[in-house]
């Protein structure tokens, strides 16, 4: 590569700083809002004048948010596990086996990916009430699992196509049993792809608001986004801004940590799923 002039370097630095600033601005803002003393929450300044943790104390005073966290984590984790399990079976068949109807399955998965959830919210609401799934974990796990299956299938089959499967046979020729060949050769090769698909699935389920809002009504299954939306503060005279901000920060931190650690994988997963589709 040719050497770059100081001016070019400066321009790149400015461009990069603008992008980073733009991406982080609302996160810093909500963090600052959550750290403001409740009395100064309406001062309209970007940074807090009096730093305080009162909003966080208030957030955990009642069990509402703790329950929501528990529901969010549990529901998203179970939906992810099932989606990845079913998705990897399908993806294995698509990547490695010859069978008629492969295109149809991929087209169907694409159709589900484009499907508008709002169109089935009413049906699920009615059906779930009839069969007792309304306001339960399974009532949310089932739609989350379904709507993340396309993502899992596309991402996993893209990854599975890249695996050098002949290594499995090579290991067996070298004396490994089929189980050893699978566990010591194929599993480590497939793990990064499976893990990537799991992260994307988890983010999807963690983010959902529409189903969480419509298919739950109490602490029993209501997840964080729906709890936040209906948060009213400790008493009716209290402004919930600070508490909502604190809750927002609590649910954002794990996502930021995950994104920073697994950024390469997330990018690979997102683009593999979309470009191959």
């Amino acid at each position: 590569m040719s050497t770059h002039t100081t001016r070019e370097k400066l321009l790149w630095t400015i461009a990069i700083l603008i992008v980073v600033f733009y991406a982080l601005l609302p996160v810093l803002w909500i963090l600052s809002l959550s750290l403001k003393d409740p009395a100064t929450i309406g001062d309209g300044r970007f940074l807090p004048q009096d730093w305080s943790l009162k909003n966080y104390e208030q957030l955990f005073e009642t069990d509402a948010f703790t329950y929501a966290l528990r529901n969010s984590i549990g529901i998203a984790a179970i939906a992810t596990l099932i989606s990845i399990f079913l998705g990897s079976m399908t993806a294995y068949a698509i990547a490695r086996l010859q069978f008629p109807g492969k295109g149809l399955i991929l087209a169907g998965a694409l159709a589900v990916a484009m499907f508008p959830p709002i169109s089935i919210v009413g049906s699920l609401f009615d059906l779930w009430r009839q069969i007792g799934f309304f306001d339960t974990w399974w009532g949310l796990i089932i739609p989350y699992m379904t709507f993340t299956l396309p993502l899992a299938i596309y991402t996993l089959s893209a990854f599975f196509r890249e695996i050098p499967w002949e290594l499995e046979q090579a290991a067996q020729i070298d004396g490994a049993t089929p189980w050893q060949a699978y566990r010591k050769v194929i599993v480590p090769l497939a793990a990064p792809g499976v893990f990537t698909a799991a992260i994307l699935t988890f983010i999807f389920a963690w983010n959902d608001f529409l189903f969480a809002n419509t298919l739950t009504s109490t602490d029993r299954a209501r997840t964080v986004p729906a709890t936040l939306a209906f948060f009213t503060g400790g008493s009716q005279f209290e402004d919930p801004t600070g508490v909502i901000s604190a809750a927002a920060v609590v649910v954002t931190i794990p996502i930021i940590i995950m994104v920073l650690i697994f950024q390469r994988r997330i990018v690979a997963g997102l683009t593999a799923g979309a470009v191959k589709g």
Binding site: W12, T13, A15, I16, V19, V20, A23, P26, W29, I30, I41, G44, F46, G87, M89, A93, R96, L97, Q98, F99, I105, G108, M114, F115, P116, I118, S119, I120, V121, G122, S123, F125, D126, M145, I153, W165, E166, Q169, I173, I203, N207, F209, L210, N213, T214, V224, P225, L228, A229, T241, A248, T252, I255, Q263, I266, V267, L270, T271, A274, V275
Partner: protein, 314 residues
Amino acid sequence: MAAQTPATPAPVGRVGGRKRLTERARAERKLAYMLCAPAVLAMLVVTGYPIAYAVYLSTQRYDLRFPDDREFVGLSNYGEVLSSSTWWLDLTNTVIIMGFSVAIELVLGMVIALIMHRAIWGRGPVRASILIPYGIVTVVAAFAWRYAFDPTTGFVIGLGPISETWAPLAERAGSFFVIIMTEVWKTTPFMALLLLAGLALVPDELHEAAKVDGASAVQRFFRITLPLMKPAILVALLFRTLDAFRVFDTVFIQTAGANDTETVSILGYNQLINRVNLGLGSAVSVLIFACVIIIAVLFIKGLGASTAQQGDDQ
């Protein structure tokens, strides 16, 4: 021999003669169907059945407040929705939000993709920071921007030339502005990453050749990069347009449809969940489904045309 080159399973069978192929192929098919069945069934049952049920409900007069008053009313629910000014206003609002957010995202996403593609340094920080909006819960992003533009808490109000008394979320244009801004912030990263993947497919040699011929950077972008990226751009636009058409979370948190900013998803939600009018609400649901199909078909046709054209060019 055959056992050492099993990367592609089918040809291996072929080496062993005709009979082994059919047996092997049959076993392979059986395994494939068994592996695919659970996922396919789940997708069919959880989307196919409810949408069919929604179509059925849309032909009923079915209000959960008067469950005994349920009867078949044919297409009259559709008549009621399509003849109401609310549906058309909401559809207009949805198209406004969709159009502006996707257009802005495409331009911004392209700029960010180009920065990441050509960056001399700093690709890592850019990638890490743009993934944060992608990972953040939409409801959280909507609250952050709502509070930023709120006259009592917001830092934006009174900033520089912005009036101290401006309350964007209390007026229609201002609400659209904040909603679109939130949508753009949240989903530009996805667009940028898809476009970046498309950029990587444009061969460097073409740029070098054009450079030698004296083409400027701008000319190279419009004459080489853009045409070659057309399929990638259309795929990104397809996903984002469909996603933006279903916009719900941001509007629900920021205005809940006040100041004439209601979208079709909010309308469906209000009918189904707040007014528990499952008949009328299902008609809205089915109409949204039909709109999504129309958008998808238009894009897929465009995509087919552009890939066919590229095939001809090569």
